[in-house]
Symmetry: C2
Subunit: 198 residues, 2 copies
């Protein structure tokens, strides 16, 4: 038989597991390649974790890929309360404050000192001032760019995002991996030439 404290900690964790499931209802602004529907933030979170793992050798700085993956597993949890907003319009203090509150509420469901540990990791991701978070933030931009590049620039056109803004905002990819940005910047220039990014 297991002691009551352990059983209780497991129960608390399972309540967290059920709560975070709501991330599957948060709708993002791009469509996965080949799909007619929009992506949700839970499947996006899986996608960026796997992308980070497979691109890890192209990070410019020494990174701890396992920390990066943990960061990316939780990076969007704040959207459960705050919702997702398109990056070109939304990196405001208000949005970020609402996400911080949301992450705290959800992590507080966990037993022990998980709240402190993972909230610090979330803040590190948001600040983007460490090698791990620079790389994580670079990778987080990759799937939406691929969605637009393979999807006729759907969300760029829908939200009327000009090429200057797309190039400027996504140049943060170079802070994590210059080579990755080199590849993607060339593709974006190609999109401009094709007329899908204006």
């Amino acid at each position: 038989m297991t002691d009551t404290q352990t059983l209780q900690a497991i129960e608390q964790t399972l309540a967290f597991v059920v709560e975070v499931e709501k991330l599957k209802t948060v709708v993002r602004n791009t469509r996965p390649v080949g799909l007619d529907r929009y992506e949700n933030s839970a499947e996006h979170s899986w996608h960026v974790c796997l992308t980070a793992l497979m691109l890890k050798d192209f990070a410019d700085e020494a990174i701890d890929i396992d920390r990066v993956i943990r960061m990316l597993l939780i990076h969007d949890l704040g959207e459960i309360d705050a919702g997702d907003t398109i990056i070109y319009a939304s990196e405001t203090p208000e949005q970020k404050g609402a996400e911080a509150e949301g992450v705290k509420r959800i992590l507080a469901m966990l037993p022990g000192d998980h709240l402190q540990e993972y909230f610090a990791l979330w803040e590190e991701f948001e600040a983007g001032e460490t090698a791990d978070s620079r790389y994580a933030r670079a990778v987080d931009r990759v799937p939406p760019l691929l969605h637009n590049l393979h999807g006729g620039g759907h969300s760029w056109r829908k939200h009327d995002v000009p090429k200057e803004k797309v190039l400027q905002l996504n140049s943060r990819i170079a802070k994590g991996s210059r080579a990755l940005w080199e590849v993607l910047e060339a593709r974006l220039q190609g999109a401009v030439e094709e007329g899908i990014l204006k």
Copy 2:
């Protein structure tokens, strides 16, 4: 400027990133708590990775949680070609063979020796004969059980799965964490008493 080989390796990896996106179209047999739609295997993959991370202290054996998470990030990739089938009917050699071929096809898109590395990890997960894979396989069962427990036993009833089969198959959770199984087994017994598991 980056050398051509590096740029090519990045291009290959990005093609993989686009290809694995198809996991977002693989429909599973349970519905996330509170949702009317079925879950897809991409959002499930995120959910089990986060579940594994937060339950890691309850593993009975010494595990490498980062290897466990990598395993779980790729554990369902074979379903892109083979599809998902309900576990109570489908752990057949044919299904597993089709998934193995599918995983190989997709991992072969990656540069370098990633195919060998990650296919070995996938096989380790499937075999379930190491501490890491025993724990990973235990955690992989948690969300579908929670979906049924919080969802009136929807998929049990739909597929007419008797309580004996549910208890027997999910007892594999005890191979990764006896305490976790203790909690979930008690809940399943509660579901039997409530009449949602027969």
